[in-house]
Structures are given as structure tokens and as C-alpha cells.
Symmetry: D2
Subunit: 255 residues, 4 copies
């Protein structure tokens, strides 16, 4: 059967990335407390393509994924990238995984526990045997508006905000580390389960810790600046203002 | 050229709706203050298909839309439904339009004005010359938690919530009527532009008017119960809780 | 601490559903081949609220979910519904779970296998000890246009379409049953991994089996009509036409 | 009333961008054929914030937008950026507008015309009086698989693909220019309205012009390379494969 893909390209241009996108696949992720957890990832897999070749061989991405261990850690992730370069005779490979990650959180007073989900992502690029990784998390937090608190008689508007962190790093960086940085950057972490005494605690804490999106983005950035394994980061904060129908937004980007 | 669609169907079953979905199209909507406004609608157009025919003629939906006035009012909407039944030799026609609608809102103290957007929808069904319509709006509001307000020392958690109203009605029902019902159902309406004095006013008002999603859904439902043109409704309230990473939800449905 | 929720409501109206929405949670689902599989579900949990009570107790939904087995089958699902009615002193409970479900599919010629994902949903309502369930699947298929095939010189346009099935049922109904009905309704099932010989097989098969959305919806509906456990269904087909920028759509609904 | 925002920041870090996000607003866009057209844009507006200040003044973004002409062209866009730097005493301002843009397209044989929508975006950055702009379009096209065409007996799988182009440019660059580049890069443009004779023409043309995502991305990139006003570009092609449930993807990026 004819192999059209291996034929010559009419337009002689190298392609930065070619592959498959928007694949859903089960994934087992390492978990600091429990060893590992099951989740589902949205995956993009791609390689470069030299100017001389018409096309890549898309089915090999699926074969690589099917034969992969399915358990995400540094070694296995690098192996999958390396395997893609081999199967597709490429110089560079690229992976992008997005998945929800669950952590048991205890309510601050009642100690009731429940699972919180955090959207996480891992991006990897392999070139000349060198892997570059970007680890990302989205952490929901509560923000209480400092301006509103200063001028209002009785309260202050608060809302849910999302802290999005992405980091270049070396060594072992836990998702839990980044999640904690996000949680501590707002007026309060948010919780899945709060009994009445917890709700009081969380709200009182948040009102003692009012923060603009500007404060939240700086709080997170400062911690990332001093984190020994982080070599570059971006932090975005988007706050779904309760008095508006748009978001307040701030970002600091050193990548 | 062969007309496959008009041929017989192998499976003899009538089809409830067949047509085109997810079309984006400019739309001019009637506006109580300014006469009319320009917006963009996502549209679904469909008709029924008797058991005897293999297929409908999809291009005629586009022809009907192209020859339509593009200005949305009772008469033109009914005309488009009627036109679909004629062109497609159908007994029933169905339209679903979704579009953002803009209203100038004045801030309560400074009188500064800015445009607020509301997602609106109009559904129409024509059968035997009778048109049934469902008008819908999504209204963002602020909610202050009554429980949190009762038990906390200094504040109470608040958040943005969405009130979704859908109504069967007779006569002329303005989008503005439904938007007002939504706005008044929460602790406070939300605004696009608030100066500091407005922010104080809105927040103080909201804290004097704490409301659970249960309160919001009942407030809106009660108004709809007594609205002379409304003959059936559903109200959904979804509140993006600032202390949680999920929503609180309530609905009342009489349709 | 004050229990505001148990206080009287100013507006005396019963609420159809009140609860939590848009919760992400790990889920273990029964699997015909492998016993069970791990996935992640988006969940809504709600109960009714009588006119006399101001509010429900939202944290109890999370407590019920946290103490639930997390393994989805008929008995456990009904137990969770029943548990919600107990904890919240409600007459009715409602659950809505949405989750990706994975099946290993073999390519038709090479026998290469890979995981396909199907978005599934399970809705449950409990009232007076009676549970009503609705099981749903979204199945991607390929459609080849019969009209295009009849009039074109060399080919015919094809595209990916989605078959959405929802069913009321009695006894044990496997997701796999509904997925098969969806897959067989189009011109061809779609696959995650196809080698060249498989691609030829699938395409040739699809071109021998050209189908409008009207054909696809009838094919699925006919099978559901005759399925012994199915007592009501809706089938929607949405085809992302390759020659248009909108979808072709058809639905048959007996629910 | 206290101006908390102008107070000192506890964490002394400059913020790259701070402002409002996800605002919906009517927009009038210049149109090569008709002079101008009405649409609706999703907008992000932001400025930089020096390390010394605690916060920006969010309401001023809305004031700037409210006093802006609302008609998008080079001069007005630059004016809005400049106005943001003035009102917020900033060194840099950033705008991101996304909007559907409509073009009347004629069917190739019948000459029937209908509106096609293209998602467009304009990003602007102003610093030291210099404006940098990025113009983007998303163009749906049809792709016929060359491999499938070579090996199958009767047809070949085809599907809708999206070509996403973003460009840095100088002088006047029309959205229409980029849309044409996208349309010509695939096997065929797609249309809103096609009569049977048009469907035959489009399909036959597409089958004479089979293209992988690799071909599409190179076709577009080659034209952008030689466009006199384009100084940097990215092209992404995502093809919703009709035989798979994932996308094929390719990108070339020189920005």
C-alpha cells in the first residue's frame, strides 16, 4: 500500500509540531500522600517534521501511547517523549497533558474531609536528549476586596478567583507544592465541604486577609521567586467579581 | 441531478426535528429604550420530516435565513417559522436563537453608565399556524450568604450568581422585564462600571439583602407567577460560591 | 450557632431542586469486559425543598458523597439517592453524573487496539422509594453524504458526527449496548488507532454505507424501539459537515 | 473615601498586566466590501503596574471603553491603548478583542450567497508610544486525506478543519487577506449555503486537491512568508478527523 506521507513535500518548509490533539486517556498520577491516583487526561502529542517529508505517521502516536505505562512520573514522561522521537524519526517531541487532580482537604474546625479537584497540566519538550518540562496548576481561592472592606459599613464583596501557575523547574516538584502556593496567595483557600463552624472560620480568616488580584498575583510570584526548584514561572489571577459581570485580572510572567 | 433526499426512507419513522444547528448570524433585536440594537446570534433551525421521506433539503434553511429581514420581532419571527414550513413542506418548524443583549445601566450613586450584557434566547415552535414561544434570559446577580452573615464576626461570603429564566408568554414581553425580575431576585444587581461610592452603595445594599439561592429562585418565581403575560416558567439559580469550588443550585419549574 | 436555613421562608413556594452543581469527583464504573474502570465524573446532587423551609443544608450533599462507596452500580446509585433524602429530610432526590468511559476497540484489519472514550451520563430521580434512571451516551461516528456520493465524480464529503442517546430503562442496561447502537447507526464507527489497511477498510465500508443525519437518527431509534429494556429514548445526531461551518442535525424523542 | 489602591504594596514586585477580562461589548469593525459591520467582541483590557503601587483602578478601564468610539480601526485602537496609559498612569497598555466577522460568500456554481462567520482577534500592545498589533483569524476549511484517497477504492475520508492564523504586521492588513489565505490552504473552502450543483463542485474540487494538515499548514505559511505586510506569524491547523475521535494537528510558528 502506498505510503503517501513519506513522499516529498511540494512546499519545502519544516513543521514545528505535527501530531494528534484532544485525545482523552486514563492516567495514573503520582500523589504525595497516597502514592498514586487515577484520573483522566486530555492529551496532545506531536513531533517536528523536516522540510523534505510530506507527512508524519499519525497512527504511531496512538501506538506509543498504547504501549506506554500510563503512570505519570519523570522517567515515564521522558520515556514517552523519547519513544515518539524514535517511532517518528523526529528530532523533537512535545507532550501536553491536562487532568484533574484530587486532594483530600480537611475543613479547618470540624476536620471534616472531602476531595478538592485542581486542574493540572504537564508540558514536555524533548530535543537532543534534553527534556524541558512545564508544570501547571489552577487553584481556586476566595478573595475579599480590600477597597470594599475599607469603605463599606457592614461587609465587603468577596468572590471566587482562580490562580493559574505554570513553572519551569528542575528536580522533583510536587503538584502539591504549587497548589499550596496558590491556596496561600488568596484571602482564603476554598473547600469542598464546610460545616457551619468551618464556614465561620474561613469567612473570618478571609476578611482578615483582604486581597486584590494584584496582591494575590504578587503573593504567589514571591513564593515562586524563592522556590529552589522553580527557574521561571507565570502566575495569572482571574477573579469573578461578585459586583461585576466581568473578571478582574493580573499576571506576572518571567518565562 | 439526482434528488436522493426526496427518495423513500428505508426505516419508516417520522423525525421530530431535522435541520441546521450552530449557525452564527448577525441579528437586530428590538430594544425598549433605543428602538433596536445590533447583536450576533447562534441559531438552530429545524422542521419535522414525515416517515415517508429520506431526507430534508438543508440548503433551504440557509435560503430562508438569507431572505429573512434579520430584525427580530413577533411578526418577523413567526414569518420565518412559517417560511420554513413552506419551503420544506413541513407541518412543524422550530427556531432557537441565542444572543447577547446589551443594556445601559447607571451606577446607583455616581450615575456613571456602562453597557451590561445579558445572554438571551428565543425559542419558537409553529404548528397548524399556532406559534408557541419561549423567551429566556441569564441575569448575573450578587448573593450574600445569610448564614455566613449571621455567624461571622466581620463579614459574610458573597459571590456572583446567574439567574436563568425561561417563560412561555402571550402578548408582548420585553427582555427588559425578565432582566429586571432577575436583577431584583438577588442580593444586588451587578454592574459593569462602579466608582468607589457606587461600590460602597452596592455592597451595603447587598449586605442588607442577604439571600440564599433558595431565596433568589423564590423571589424570581413569585414575580413570574404574578406576571400577567407569563403562562409558565422555569427559574434556575447557580451561585459560584466563593468559599467552595462548586456551585449552589436551585430551580423551580412550572413548564 | 444559628441555623438560618431551618427558619421560615418569606416566600412560601416549594423548590423543585436545590443542591450542589458542577462538582468534580473520581468515580469507578462497572465495565462489561474488565469488571470496573476508574474515571472522573462531573456531578450535580439535589433534593426538593418544601415551601415552609428557608434553605437546605448544602454541606450534607458533600458528606453523603464522601461516605458513598464511589463505585457506580444500580444498588449504590439508588443508595446514594436514598441517603440524600434521609440526610436532607426530602421527599425527592436527584443525581446527574457525567463521565468519560473508555473501551478498548480493535482496528478491523490489523487488530491493533486502542482506547476510545465515550461521554456518558446517568441521571437518577428517587421519589416514594421509586427510582427512575436515564442512561446516556455520546458516540462519535463517521457519516458519508448519500447525496454527495450520488452526484460527485470522484468522492463524497464525509465528516465526524455525534450520536447522543438517552434512555429510560428497566433491569440492567450496559453502556456498551448503547455505544454499539450509536456506532452502528452511522456510515462507520470511528477509531482511536487505525493502520493504513484499517483506514482503507473503514473508509471503503463508510462509502458503502452512506447516511444522512436523518438515516443515522432513524437507525438508532429503530434499534432502541426494539430493545427490550428501553422504555423511552431520545436520539440526537449532530454532524459537523465538512463542506459547511455549521452542523446538520436530526432528533427523535419519545420520552 | 479611602483610596486603598494608591497605597503601598507589601510585596514590592511590578505586575506585567492588570485589568479587566471577559467583557462583552458591541463593536463596529471595518469591512473591505461594505465599509463597516456590527459585531460583538469579548475584550480584555490591561496595563502594567509598578512595584510601588498596591492596585490599579479597575473602573477606569470601563470609563475608557465607554468613551471610546466603538469603531475599530488602526487609529481608534491605538487611541484606546493610549487612553488607558493616560487614565491609569501606566507605561504599557494591552488590548485583546475577539469577535465573529461576517463575509458574504457566493456559492461557486449557483451564485447563491450567504453569510459565513470567522472568529477574529486583534491584540495590541502600546509601550513608549509604539504599538505592536497581532491580527488573527480562524478559518474553517475542508480537508480530503491524500493517503485515504490513494488507497481506498471508492472515496477518501474528508472532514472540517480549522486554520488559525496570527500575524504581526505593518501598514493596513485586512481580515479578508488572512481569511483568503486560510481558505486557499485547505482542500476547499467551506460555505454556509450550497445548492446541489455547488455541493458537487466543492466536493469534486476538494477531491482534486487532497491535503494533510501538514500540507494545509505549509500552504498557509508559504503565503504568509511572502506577504509584504506580515513580519511574523503562526499557523495552526486542527482537523476533526472523520475516522477518529481526536484531531490531527500541525503548526508553524515564526513569532
Amino acid at each position: 500500500m502506498q505510503d503517501i506521507q513519506s513522499g516529498p513535500s511540494l512546499v519545502s518548509m519544516a513543521i514545528d509540531r505535527v501530531g494528534v490533539k484532544n485525545l482523552l486517556h486514563p492516567l495514573i498520577v503520582r500523589d504525595r500522600m497516597q502514592g498514586q491516583q487515577h484520573t483522566v487526561a486530555r492529551m496532545d502529542l506531536s513531533v517536528d517534521l523536516p522540510a523534505a517529508f510530506k507527512g508524519t505517521h499519525m497512527s504511531r502516536f496512538l501506538e506509543a501511547l498504547g504501549e506506554w505505562t500510563g503512570i505519570l512520573d519523570y522517567t515515564s514522561f521522558k520515556h514517552l517523549l523519547w519513544d515518539l522521537t524514535k517511532r517518528l524519526q523526529a528530532k523533537r517531541a512535545h507532550l501536553h497533558f491536562c487532568f484533574p487532580y484530587f486532594l483530600e482537604q480537611k475543613a479547618p474546625v470540624s476536620n471534616s474531609s472531602a476531595l478538592m479537584d485542581y486542574q493540572c497540566s504537564l508540558v514536555g519538550n524533548l530535543e537532543n536528549g534534553e527534556m524541558e518540562m512545564i508544570l501547571g496548576v489552577e487553584v481556586p481561592v476566595m478573595t475579599v476586596c480590600p477597597c470594599s472592606l475599607a469603605i463599606c459599613e457592614r461587609g465587603a464583596h468577596s468572590q471566587r478567583a482562580t490562580v493559574r501557575i505554570a513553572t519551569r523547574f528542575s528536580g522533583l516538584l510536587w503538584l502539591e507544592d504549587l497548589i499550596e502556593i496558590g491556596q496561600q496567595a488568596g484571602s482564603s483557600p476554598v473547600h469542598a465541604l464546610l460545616k457551619r463552624e468551618d464556614e465561620k472560620f474561613v469567612t473570618d480568616m478571609a476578611f482578615n486577609n483582604a486581597a486584590f488580584v494584584e496582591d494575590v498575583v504578587r503573593n504567589a510570584a514571591q513564593k515562586l521567586e524563592h522556590h529552589p526548584q522553580v527557574h521561571g514561572y507565570s502566575v495569572e489571577v482571574e477573579s469573578m467579581e461578585s459586583i461585576h459581570n466581568h473578571s478582574a485580572y493580573a499576571c506576572i510572567n518571567t518565562m
